[in-house]
């Protein structure tokens, strides 16, 4: 099923799908959209990628985070050390001058983790209401008014949980089906 047009297009389209799905997620409160639809859209990009390139390639490209860890730690303070590592991992991902100092760590992001994060986020979003003295799952809003999102509140956290869960589940199913 690998055609050059699809293969090239899908690589460009994945970020578009991602951005669009997040847009749909935020938009959901006032217009059609929301976590369920957003999650589905977000995963569809990856599904096409899987169909074109296969599971292994997808996992390698998108579900693996390469981290660099400072082997030679000069521990002035732990916080500074952390900050140093975080800076290297975020800004200078490609080029590090003294390569020998760094060891590579690979972290796999499994779909099950995404599912768990989604469920966790949704379940804990209700706790905020609980701690403010109301029944569990009472929504609480900030006073801000942001263009697309509207007023952000705990419901947005809940919706994000839904998004992650649906996203993770569809990915999981796809990977299972496409393997072998």
């Amino acid at each position: 099923m690998r055609t050059i047009i699809l293969a090239t297009a899908i690589r460009l389209l994945i970020p578009v799908f991602q951005i669009f799905s997040v847009y749909i997620l935020f938009r959901g409160h006032n217009h059609p959209g929301g976590g369920f639809i957003g999650g589905l859209i977000g995963s569809i990009g990856f599904i096409f990628y899987v169909m074109t390139y296969g599971t292994k390639h997808t996992l390698k490209n998108y579900f693996r985070v390469h981290l660099k860890n400072d082997k030679v730690a000069d521990l002035h303070s732990r916080a500074r050390h952390r900050f140093h590592i975080a800076r290297v991992n975020s800004r200078y991902r490609q080029r590090v001058e003294d390569e020998w100092k760094w060891e590579h760590r690979i972290m796999r992001i499994r779909p099950v983790y995404i599912i768990a994060t989604g469920l966790f986020l949704a379940a804990t979003s209700g706790l905020i209401g609980l701690f403010s003295g109301n029944p569990y799952m009472t929504a609480i809003w900030t006073g801000l008014e942001i263009p697309i999102v509207g007023k952000p509140g705990t419901t947005l956290l809940f919706d994000a949980g839904v998004y992650l869960l649906v996203f993770g589940i569809v990915l999981k199913i796809t990977f299972v089906m496409a393997e072998e």
Binding site: N30, H31, P32, F36, L40, V166, I169, I173, V176, M177
Partner: protein, 122 residues
């Protein structure tokens, strides 16, 4: 449309059930999917049909303005569809696994699999 949709729903129910009753795995999956679709349509139709008028509060208003569709069955359906998908996927994987493990595509061959799994006593 109020008069036609019940017949369509009934037809889908009948087709889905007919496919499920077959012994073949593949038809079982098709049947489950159709049955789910029919159920969703059933709920949707019971909640009354409203042409146009989606349940979204228009700009500049604080309450919904008639005519708008009933949002309650819609909220039910939205999750039902996604869950239905999860079930479908589970059924597909299950059928695939059974097909690989037992090499049969006939549901009737599975009615004594429990006995075969028990390892013989030594």
């Amino acid at each position: 449309m109020d008069i036609v949709l019940p017949f369509i729903t009934g037809l889908l129910f009948a087709t889905g059930l007919y496919l499920i009753l077959h012994r073949h795995f593949f038809k079982l999956i098709l049947g489950i999917i159709l049955f789910g679709l029919a159920t969703n349509l059933f709920i949707f139709t019971i909640g009354r049909l409203t042409r146009g008028g989606s349940p979204i509060i228009p700009q500049g208003s604080e309450v919904a303005i008639e005519p708008y569709a009933d949002p309650v069955p819609q909220a039910l359906l939205l999750t039902a569809i996604v869950i239905g998908f999860g079930i479908q996927a589970f059924a597909i994987v299950l059928v695939k696994r059974v097909y690989q493990a037992f090499g049969t595509n006939n549901l009737d061959d599975l009615n004594n699999t429990d006995k075969t799994i028990i390892p013989p006593k030594e």
